[in-house]
């Protein structure tokens, strides 16, 4: 995946989510110490620099921790998940060295004991809703 650099959008949740809606998993990189952060940061926690830039991630990572959820929040229930149809949430360590929370797809939620920490994953985007109400969710698939 090509690396796209832009400093036009603010380093905010709103901008990050706009990128997600465009099916891009973008990170912010500190122009001073080069550390990369996804989710985005406006100030570098490593060197306190305020000079950041947006970079597109490779979208590759591995599973650092996960769960299969049988009782979800209201918005997941609305998307059809429940005790009979549980879903996987996980934490993914990206190639860039930063980690992020995401839905996990392509693994069997009915056999959690067989899901392996360290499984290689690549970025995916899950959409729900129509028109104005359409929302895109960050996911990673095995």
């Amino acid at each position: 995946m090509s690396e796209e650099t832009t400093t036009i959008r603010p380093f905010s949740a709103a901008a990050f989510n706009q990128y997600i809606a465009e099916h891009k998993l973008m990170a912010t990189r500190c122009t001073k110490c080069s550390k990369t952060y996804a989710p985005p940061r406006a100030i570098c926690p490593n060197c306190h620099s305020e000079e950041m830039e947006w970079v597109e991630t490779s979208g590759k990572g591995k599973l650092a921790g996960f769960t299969v959820i049988y009782t979800g929040p209201t918005f997941m229930s609305e998307q059809g998940f429940d005790r009979k149809n549980p879903y996987i949430s996980g934490i993914v360590e990206l190639e860039e060295g930063t980690s992020i929370s995401a839905r996990i797809t392509g693994l069997d939620a009915s056999k959690p004991a067989e899901i392996k920490i360290g499984t290689l994953l690549s970025v995916d985007f899950v959409e729900f809703g129509e028109g104005e109400a359409k929302k895109t969710y960050l996911a990673f698939k095995a």
Partner: protein, 422 residues
């Protein structure tokens, strides 16, 4: 981070009390706090004239969402007749109570007040399960964690998955924590679930027979805990009995400057260490098998107290989930990383073990009214250290104790160390 600095002056607890924890449809957080306040007042050995109280701190997570009532602190002050003293609400998710104690300590050390009341209250059961799940979710890093579908059981389950992978723990190991904490709660008259898991299981069987339904065939509590109908999975690998309940409750402790403690009691409990730290979202940590904020807060508290983990006789730790107690017991330095679950299995953390943890029943079985939990932890150590814990009293000289209160997955942690000197 810089070293802990000494307080300008010492602080002691001279009174402590809590409401009954449970689900009370007719009580709001004010009613619960009135109960806790009365219990605290009764516990002050030489009596308490409420007009001696100079300031109030209240730990409360989100009465905003649970009761459509914010601005909780002056309302609680007024409910117990303390207007116009300063009344300040402190919020750090499920660590709100621990942070409130810490503000009380600082207020006294600052020289501004000599006598400070610290309360905690949460009224959670007015919402249904989905409502509580959504309300608790606001304690997370909402824009970046919640779209992934995480719930709080889910976050701790993800920590458990990483812990199992790294240290070879099985989900069954966590059940030891639940069994122990229900055992302790069965001896605590203020607990929400004052029954052992054995009694709970027997109750389920009896209820089924009474209703004319087929009786479950659980022969031991291990059968029961492994059965989806007895102990359903909430967020794998965590099941219902790995999770603390939804609770209504309040707690209160009275802090005074050491130079005035003998006006109230000859048996004060000194707060000799206080540490607090913040943490980033769960995904943004070097490892999932420990909580950095807890380690930092504990280091600070030990440093201020001038003691180490091995000196602690008992601890009330934040077991919002069974895995949380295991990780806490390692973060606090009681056991090496990866050894906490074995200590629970071996009975080391039992009431009669070498390092009793959660003698009150913990959040797991005593109940977890989130903003009150940190204060209720201090109530338990106050009672244990003064030999007033009734049937669940730990034997021997409980001269040093610790409380460990975590907000969310560890974005906040407060640790306090307590000493009895006579």
């Amino acid at each position: 981070m810089p070293k802990s600095k000494p307080l300008s002056r010492g602080v002691a607890i001279v009174g402590a009390g809590m409401s009954k924890f449970g689900a009370f449809a007719e009580k709001n957080s004010r009613d619960l706090f009135v109960e806790a306040f009365k219990e605290m007042t009764k516990s002050v050995d030489k009596g308490l004239d409420p007009s001696a109280i100079e300031s109030l701190y209240v730990g409360n997570f989100s009465s905003d969402q649970f009761e459509h009532q914010a601005h909780t602190a002056p309302l609680l002050a007024d409910a117990v007749g303390l207007t116009p003293i300063p009344a300040t609400r402190v919020e750090g998710a499920c660590a709100s109570g621990g942070l409130a104690i810490r503000q009380g300590v600082m207020a006294i050390a600052s020289g501004m007040y000599d006598v400070v009341l610290v309360g905690g209250a949460e009224k959670m059961t007015a919402l249904n399960t989905a409502g509580v799940t959504d309300a608790l979710a606001t304690a997370a890093d909402v824009p970046f964690e919640i779209p992934a579908g995480f719930t709080f059981p889910g976050f701790y389950a993800a920590m458990a998955s990483a812990y199992m992978h790294r240290y070879g723990m099985k989900p069954e190991h966590l059940m030891n924590v639940a069994i122990k904490n229900h055992d302790n709660a069965s001896l605590n008259p203020y607990a929400q679930f004052g029954v052992t898991i054995q009694k709970w299981m027997e109750g389920r069987v009896a209820a089924a027979i009474k209703k004319g339904k087929p009786a479950p065939t659980w022969s031991t509590i291990w059968d029961f805990l492994h059965d989806e109908s007895g102990n359903p999975t909430v967020a794998w690998p965590l099941r219902l009995f790995d999770c603390s309940p939804v609770t209504d409750g309040a707690a209160a402790v009275l802090l005074v400057a050491e130079e005035r403690m003998h006006e109230f009691t000859d048996h004060p409990i000194h707060i000799i260490g206080s540490g607090q730290a913040s943490g980033s979202a769960l995904h943004d940590r070097p490892e999932l098998t420990a909580i950095p904020a807890a380690k930092t807060a504990a280091t600070k508290a030990y440093e201020m107290a001038g003691i180490t983990a091995k000196d602690i006789r008992i601890a009330e730790v934040h077991d919002c989930f069974t895995i949380a107690e295991v990780i806490a017991s390692e973060d606090l330095g009681f056991f090496a990383p990866g050894e906490g679950f074995k200590a629970a299995e071996d009975g080391v953390t039992a009431r009669n073990g070498a390092k009793p943890i959660n003698t009150s029943g913990g959040l797991k079985a005593k109940g977890h009214p989130v903003g009150a939990s940190g204060v209720a932890q201090a109530v338990e150590v106050f009672k244990q250290m003064r030999g007033q814990a009734g049937e669940r009293q730990v034997a021997g000289d409980v001269n040093l104790a610790l409380t460990h209160n975590v907000g969310a997955t560890g974005s906040t942690c407060a640790v306090h160390v307590y000493e009895r000197r006579n």
